[in-house]
């Protein structure tokens, strides 16, 4: 699939067609998600209206995790199969993922203040999200810390892959900590402890953010493909000048 998409022209042709669809789905789910989460969802019996923060917090958290996974996978593609497109994909994912993990931290804090009376608690999930955020940050800083883009891409990809091994361990190990956090309720599919009516806006928001991210990734990859073309053109004209001058 990736191999097949790796051709830039094919990538452009296909995305040209599906991009509007993705955008449309993102908008529809976002608007309806917002409607349900703000207007048409029940108050939690304990948290009251404060539970509404969940509809931005949890989707952000999910996306931060999912995007990191995709980032690392695309880094594997880049390092192992050396698809240049894979690097563009990973470098497009990274800032979006970093944004979502930052949003998770901020909205979580905004949730924590009314619920726990404190902005921050060194609880397992919070800590591992913080670590995730630093993996994103490390990836971004490292990929820009080299003179040659390719060196930065390779080095940062290594970091992302190490993170893929390390993050589950971090998550798992940090879970040893006693937690104030609520138990994972969606995961317990057997009997979700939250209201079905709360589930709907949650799922809608997750879809909205996922499609939005997908759209943004495609957009960024396109931008980078064009930038690459520009660079190649510039280089070519430079080299021609050099050979003329020589």
């Amino acid at each position: 699939m990736f191999d097949w998409l790796a051709n830039p022209n094919r990538f452009n042709r296909i995305t040209e067609k599906i991009q509007p669809c993705i955008f449309l789905i993102a908008i529809i789910t976002l608007v309806s998600g917002l409607y349900f989460s703000l207007f048409d969802s029940p108050k939690d019996y304990q948290q009251g209206d404060a539970v509404r923060i969940m509809y931005v917090h949890v989707p952000s958290a999910w996306l931060a995790s999912i995007l990191y996974f995709s980032l690392a996978i695309s880094c594997v593609f880049y390092l192992v199969w050396k698809h240049p497109l894979a690097d563009l994909v990973s470098s497009s994912i990274a800032p979006i993922g970093a944004l979502f993990s930052a949003l998770t931290l901020v909205t979580g804090s905004l949730w924590g203040k009314p619920m726990w009376g404190t902005w921050w608690v060194w609880d397992a999930r919070l800590t591992s999200m913080l670590v995730l955020f630093f993996f994103y940050l490390g990836y971004i800083l490292l990929s820009n810390a080299f003179e040659r883009k390719i060196d930065g891409s390779k080095t940062a990809s290594v970091l992302a892959i190490v993170g893929l091994i390390n993050l589950p361990i971090v998550k798992f190990s940090v879970d040893w900590w006693h937690t104030l956090h609520q138990p994972a309720s969606i995961i317990k599919i057997g009997g979700p402890s939250i209201d079905d009516k709360m589930l709907l806006p949650l799922i809608l928001m997750i879809f909205a953010l996922s499609f939005f991210s997908l759209y943004m990734i495609i957009l960024n990859v396109k931008t980078k493909l064009i930038e690459k073309k520009c660079e190649a053109l510039l280089l070519k004209s430079n080299l021609e000048e050099i050979s003329k001058a020589g």
């Binding site: 404060a50 931005v56 949003l103 931008t223 064009i226 004209s237």
Partner: protein
């Protein structure tokens, strides 16, 4: 829209910022990336023009 909705049981100072922040950053990301794409496209056009 009634007053009660905006106040949200006194949680409004937590709820609205989280929504606004989320939507704002998504919006900014969208605008920024689209601009970037437009810029790149323009540059490419210029370059291919000067080449020919």
């Amino acid at each position: 829209m009634n007053e009660l909705f905006w106040v949200m049981q006194g949680y409004e100072i937590y709820i609205w910022p989280s929504y606004v922040l989320t939507l704002l950053s998504l919006g900014l990301l969208f605008v920024h990336s689209t601009k970037q794409l437009q810029k790149a496209k323009k540059l490419l056009k210029q370059l291919s023009k000067t080449k020919n």
